[in-house]
Symmetry: C2
Subunit: 149 residues, 2 copies
DNA sequence: GTTGCTGCAAATCCTTTGCAAGGTT
DNA sequence: AACCTTGCAAAGGATTTGCAGCAAC
């Protein structure tokens, strides 16, 4: 389960931008289409090379607008590089990223929140946020390459 | 509880470097002393400005050696910038970082691991790693500045 | 016609690397 | 003496920004 991410359509993304007072331009439509097609998440560089006709700056600026609009989540890979994906749920959730192909699954588990409360009592201070990211090897990648050992 | 981090002494750090076949040089002693004095964790830039007499490259290289030696943990702040701190425990653990002053507490909770197993059954693929970081406002910072609302 | 957007290139940030000079064993 | 380290400065990768021209409203 938890396989297919919610797919925002390019039009949904554009409508959200418009709602926030931004203009619907050609480059933005192009970027929105590209993002809409990448359900598994993407990096800024990936988008840029997918869209040689759109300036890097515009790609980055559009991503930022969408992150500000809370349509995209910015998540951090272990190496510190950011990766973006749709906010699938409006509720709080976490991510499981395939370390091999970069595909992302979202998950939510009330246990997580309960756990945090429990851990919180052992800590000095108030928990104001958290980051929980799982790194996985997805089925497809597991089959493709047999890991060492 | 969980307040004071394990304090590695500069000498311990140096001994570890020596054990790994590295030379004990002046700059390394200086860096080790600076790191030993920063129980709460630090960024590379902080160390560099603390040590104007040591080249940035040397600071970065020494940090890397200590991370390789597993004496330092590299943890990611929400903004993606890395922060370093002593490995307090040899066993698996997580971090709680104060978003205000950057102080770090380590914590470990077997519940975390059990939780991950449970979540894992809902995910496609094998969990090969995870990152769990809590962002807190520590007592001291809470008292200093009353947050909005 | 305003005002916002684009794209290029330059700038910035953080980290790594090349290399000659100097330190350590 | 041999080899590792240092530090400077330049290189690198990723993201941001300045600015003139162009497009959307």
């Amino acid at each position: 389960m938890a396989q297919a991410p919610t797919e925002f359509t390019a039009n949904t993304l554009l409508a959200l931008l418009e709602d926030r007072g931004h203009r619907l331009t050609g480059p933005r439509r192009t970027v929105a289409r590209a993002i809409a097609g990448r359900g598994a998440g993407f990096t800024a560089e990936e988008l840029c090379s997918d869209l040689p006709n759109v300036g890097r700056a515009t790609v980055y600026r559009t991503i930022r607008l969408l992150v500000d609009a809370e349509v995209l989540c910015k998540l951090m890979l272990p190496n510190g590089n950011p990766r973006y994906l749709f906010t699938q749920a409006t509720y709080h959730h976490h991510h499981a990223v395939c370390v091999s192909c970069g595909a992302v699954q979202e998950f939510r588990d009330s246990t997580v929140e309960r756990l945090l409360k429990a851990v919180g009592t052992d800590l000095v201070g108030d928990i104001v946020g958290h980051r929980i990211e799982l790194y996985v090897t997805c089925d497809r990648c597991t089959r493709r390459a047999e890991p060492h050992t």
